[in-house]
Symmetry: D2
Subunit: 284 residues, 4 copies
């Protein structure tokens, strides 16, 4: 699909005529819809939709689409986002010492599976600096201690701003971000190495082993101020047996973490994830 597209992600109180009104906006301006999906959450009384249309042949200039749609959205009390497929988001990947998720994301970005630029890696350790350098990406070492955390988070925010980062991906960044940080930069995807809400917090594989579970999982979610409690984007699982000790769980889990995080980041980058309350609609 070479032609650039526009995507609207909309949520608003449910009422009659929403599909028609929104589709008419696109059609009356000459747009060709290539993806339209909607979901109604009856319990919440919410209408949620994603529409994607080709910009080629669309009569409204890009800069006019936003104000034009705002006039439609306002009476609907809609919350909405507008994205253009040729505006490439910029990602910062945060890591600690483990390389598997980092390498996986970098490889997928090179393989064009992730429509994004990755100009920045931040770590609280130095172990992954050589790998990052090989890829020609800027690396910042920002160690975290209790007494320096606030200061370092301020620096992190500054660097994110400087690099014009749209999305932070915590690719096994084993530090808790403060509520202030998240309030200042809310677009953060984290991978947690368990099937949430089981084993939230530290050492999930050790605790999974102790509990004697027969399946382990991984969860990608948006970070919120409450640890491991944010809206879930994607989860997956793998079977384990009594033959698997903690080291085996960690090894098997790494494959899960890679693929679950990569799927979540891709879905986010394709503007397929709509957060409402503490949950997500993932438009497949």
């Amino acid at each position: 699909m070479p032609s650039p597209t526009a995507t609207l992600l909309i949520s608003c109180p449910d009422q009659k005529g929403l599909v028609a009104k929104i589709a008419n906006f696109i059609y009356s301006n000459g747009g060709n819809i290539i993806h339209a999906d909607q979901h109604t959450d009856f319990a919440a009384g919410l209408f949620l939709t994603r529409l994607e249309w080709q910009l080629e042949g669309f009569n409204l200039p890009r800069e006019v689409i936003e104000p034009a749609f705002a006039a439609i959205a306002k009476p609907l009390e809609a919350t909405w986002q507008l994205h253009f497929s040729d505006t490439i988001p910029r990602i910062a990947i945060w890591v600690t010492k483990q390389d598997h998720c980092l390498l996986d994301l970098l490889w997928r970005q090179q393989a064009k599976e992730l429509p994004a630029e990755i100009p920045l890696i931040i770590s609280n350790h130095t172990q992954l600096e050589p790998i990052v350098k090989q890829f020609g990406i800027d690396f910042y070492h920002l160690p975290i201690a209790k007494e320096t955390k606030a200061e370092q988070e301020a620096k992190q925010l500054e660097i994110l701003k400087q690099y014009k980062i749209d999305l932070v991906v915590l690719a096994k960044y084993l530090q808790i971000l403060s509520a202030e940080f998240i309030a200042n930069f809310p677009k953060i995807i984290n991978i947690h190495h368990s099937f949430l809400p089981a084993f939230a917090g530290a050492n999930p594989y050790h605790r999974a082993y102790e509990r004697g579970v027969k399946i382990i999982g991984a969860t990608a979610h948006y970070a919120t101020a409450e640890l491991d409690e944010g809206p879930i984007i994607e989860q997956d699982v793998v079977r384990v047996s009594h033959r698997d000790d903690v080291a085996d769980l960690i090894r098997k889990g790494k494959d899960l973490e890679r693929v679950v995080l990569a799927r979540a980041v891709r879905l986010h980058l394709q503007n397929r994830v709509l957060i409402y309350g503490n949950r997500t609609v993932v438009f497949g």
Copy 2:
């Protein structure tokens, strides 16, 4: 959702404004859409959609909806179906000797998982007659031999007509239907006990064992004149190991067959399956 709904399943050549035109038809007549999903097959140049709306408050009387929509559909060269949620379809289940899929469907129908009536069971054997009688369902024993097949199929068609059957479910009916039969009664869902196209035809579990596969599957599909080649609705799989002999594959496969067939029948009954070419869109 107590209010009855209408559902449109539509496929037509892709062009601009399809979502708007169809949504407008519903909105301008006062309908509240509760499910709208669409898919564009770019390779085939086809637009496919499912819309479901509440009839309460809809201004068109039921008998007018069809002709009214026909006027919209014709210029679009659309193929379409209209269904009302309170028109309960009637299913005939066909079996041979195995009871697991039959019992599963009957139990689900009683548990209200399948919005359908099941007034008729047909079998080429008599083994399952006692079970069927327990459920108070009519049972027809129509044995098939080469020389009687045409004659028996004529009888089957007559009985289907007499019972006003909308859907035949082949729940392990281990007989091949003739192309003539299928042409006369095309709404047939079959469960095949393999991961099609692997092991199409006879004895899939034996052949899976011989091949030494590590995973087995089951496939629910619409029956067509070519054996095991019809549009696939649903598939699922389960792991097997060297410890599983043919009897184990059959036992594990029974659980797959039950659940895969039940899911496919439910999706069909909810008018979520749209056939085009030899494939299906399953509106989730």
Copy 3:
């Protein structure tokens, strides 16, 4: 395999020569081993094994096997069980109002998937009595209230004794058993309708919906005095999406509960499950 077999399940502190010693006991008495599997838990320093051999041609009379093996087991400080495949265990199924797990177990028993007799159903409600009667099984209605619980549990134990029950299967019996009861009758398998340890306790599907998980699960475990904390035998999961409301989770979960419970009961009946600490070895 028509010939009856004997099965030993053994756990003991790890040391050299265990496989040889145990295999020699069987071989020197003319036994043909048809299944031998072992596991060493290095962290716990434990050796765990399952051996199954044909009794045909075995030189020791049945009543001598136990004392003969006891002489070998004692110096090894082994904990062990001896089972004969033609001693058919007797199961009591406990239910509340839901029939899906009950029916599933009864079907499987009739289909010879479960090598057991099921002479007894106990319920704290009466809804399932008609179904149970159809199967010709004795049904006891023992309603539970706070003040009658101790009394009713005493009755339950008495009935279990009277019916010579070997295993209680809690097939959606939505009552908590007292620690005293479990101490008196420790062979109990429970199905919990979540992926433990996530959503232990009440209303797991509602809580899974609230949390916005993308996968739900079911867990079969041995009941212990601590609710939903016993050794896990089997777990499985199924994907859900934003389209699934609580009723959908319940419906999808029912299929999981059925199959997970049935697998666990079958594994137990085949003497494939060895408990140690709060975990199980499942000899596949």
Copy 4:
């Protein structure tokens, strides 16, 4: 587990006393068994086992183990292999143009998931040479044309010999090896990008799309003279939907190919795979 171990993989006609005889051999020489698993294929009349024991404290010198066990194996008509865990196998990876399986194997080898050396990459194209060089591995470009195939295969065999290669991994090497080559170098693992036996041969993703399957798979197997017909080691699958076009199947399939191939190579390297007939026992 720092202590080196010895592993025996044995298959022989089933008879009484096999477990005892083999375990006695290890025990009487002071060996501590850390893994023992056996399988009896009743249909084939075959006993198959894997035993692993610690060499520390074992009384037989390494060079004596083989002749000593040969004396036991001969009367049993056993086929067997003996491996030492500190003898590190040498792998050659063969590729065409796609890098995902190659990179995955190289990462895993660096992450110590694969107990092997990878000194050699062979390709019929040059695209992956720069990546290989980054890893400091020797790269041979051996283009294949119909008229040069025999000659090039001779060269390949020579290089494998020169590098003392124990295992060839076809990591998306999209060329068919001749029966002669395979006869000369039989230790070859191939990844096929379908759920075999479905879609054996060329373009499996295109054919899967055409057939409209709801699940795709990948299969790792030993290469034999008949294309895609060799003994299967591992398979896995992933769901697809009508929204997935061929490019999506290819993208999703890449994740499967990586993980299925890696699991199979690891199982082989741990001497957990025993081939018999056209099937494998995988000792978990």
